[in-house]
Symmetry: C2
Subunit: 387 residues, 2 copies
Amino acid sequence: MHSSSPQGFLVHHGRAGIKDARPDFAVIASEVYAATSAVFTRSRFAGPSVQISREAVADRIARGVVVLSGNANVATGAGGRQDAEEIRRQVAEAIGADPNDVLIASTGLIGHRYPMPLVRRHVASLRWPFPGADFDAAAIAIMTTDTQPKIRRARCGGATLVGIAKGVGMMEPDMATLLTFFCTDAEVGPVVLDDIFRRVMDRTFNALSIDTDTSTSDTAAVFANGLAGPVDLMEFERTLGAIALDLVKDIARDGEGATKLIEVRVTGARDVAQAKRVAKAVVNSPLVKTAVHGADPNWGRVAMAVGKCQDDLDIAPERVTIGFGGQEVYPGSPGPEELARVAEHLKQAEVGLRVDLGAGPHSAAEFTAYGCDLTEGYVRLNADYST
Amino acid sequence: MHSSSPQGFLVHHGRAGIKDARPDFAVIASEVYAATSAVFTRSRFAGPSVQISREAVADRIARGVVVLSGNANVATGAGGRQDAEEIRRQVAEAIGADPNDVLIASTGLIGHRYPMPLVRRHVASLRWPFPGADFDAAAIAIMTTDTQPKIRRARCGGATLVGIAKGVGMMEPDMATLLTFFCTDAEVGPVVLDDIFRRVMDRTFNALSIDTDTSTSDTAAVFANGLAGPVDLMEFERTLGAIALDLVKDIARDGEGATKLIEVRVTGARDVAQAKRVAKAVVNSPLVKTAVHGADPNWGRVAMAVGKCQDDLDIAPERVTIGFGGQEVYPGSPGPEELARVAEHLKQAEVGLRVDLGAGPHSAAEFTAYGCDLTEGYVRLNADYST
């Protein structure tokens, strides 16, 4: 077992034949019941995986999750739901769990049934306990168009946390990202875990936007099996938040066609919701994204994007401040030297935009959103994906 | 005077030196007072042109509009407002109008003051009455990154309508497009004209989305000076709607980097607002836009985009139908022959997507949205624009 993995979690990873020759099937399971929290896409086209998993976590207890990659099992009708239930039941049987204690997640093409004979054969080969806990291999098995596996580990008191994530396109997670799973042997009660997880997701994965599209399959879950005993809960939340944010940045950097990570920090807002709305408007603007790509210090586009929050009638241009990196560009007219400094900052791999709404210190709420630049690579990749 | 121009309108067009060597200054003016209606961007960063014009049309009467292109006069502070008022005052003087009966519109770079000495010199050269009514030249003078001027003419009874428009990027008009102006010698009362214009705009320019970004300067106005006498109002609304829609399609075809016009027709909705929300979600999805660009019959992305309307809890995948051109692709699994037919349709210059929400005939509201594909050309153009 990997030395820095949480106790009592085992990982299966393999090739069921859904995708091609690459790994496409993973099971992450706790040997004992784990407190579990999960958030999902709110898409009206959410597939059976999301529906089944939503039911499975309702009691905040689970044993683990099975992940299929390359096929989203979405828009597949009643047959697709039966397929998902069959796979989940067989995996649960293999690990000695009640089916309703196993989540299922899938991403990939929409509108195609699983190749069930292949999947059945693969599931039948599962032997419990799994021989190891290779989370690195799991992070690879859940990839689709990712160019890099995404995995982060941390310690919290005597406990260990590990998080994996996948997803580089079709991503403006609204309640979750495409797929991300956290396992820990910390002992955290299910209700507290749920509170912590939702707060952490809101500041991390829900702050991420690659291309404004929201997947039908977004799933984020945390499993805490308690084998390492109790931990300081504030430290636990900080640690979980830190690895979640690292994963978010990994995802933004690996955004389809992306060459730069963009962080948009909005301060001086009336409330967090307003700060988030403005930060998302900026990070999602194709004109801001292309300007960052071209290292063009076109700060007017940031002003334009802030202006898109049309119902925020308390946003007044004369109170707004806009900066790139450490350089303020609005109000006032940046001279050639300032613009050159901004252009230099825009050439970095991590670009920081700052917008202060000037609401005053008494209501200085803030939010930071994460995204990436829009490139010709994004267009190339997505103009020829499926068929 | 151009034979198919409405009576009593005169046009000035010229080069003030705002842009470069291209025409960048136009005045469209009626010899007599005209019933006037206008709609504007709702951007919080709307500039003084929009603010001043909004005040000017409050009484639904005006003489005309002055248009500067190449500089948006946005985020320019109190000085920018003074500049706009000075220009408007001098133009009004030149045509013998009250300043408050002249609208002003500008588009182009944000955050830069007008080159006032150049503009003043140009305005001082205006001689009234203008020597002609060359709307074609006006359509050219208001262009920025447009590759084609956009102008449409129509007859309505004894009256003539002409409409010009500009704008190919930073466009998801919310209440108007970047710039579009309609002139007619039909006699239509100002209140009726306002009602008609808002209805027409809602089904045409507000149905257009190039890249989800909303300009700080969107302005659409109609001037009806009555010189040709009364017209049938239903025919007038149909005619105005038809030329507005033609201009919308011209704009979408000329979208930055665009190679295809996309029409998304949503039927079977609960109400028009829902149909519009879904149509916009589809036409704005970068994954749908890139799929159309690549002629990839990836209908799952349309399902994904429909699913993004998360608060429309009455949208149920099992009632939704999706088609490309005449070919239904969902529900059911399109075979290779159907997919080939879809791919063929996607290679056309005009692509039609159809989504039926299955609300039933008793509430079969519909809306059609217009947009364009997302291409590497869009990224190239916008990664290097301003500075």
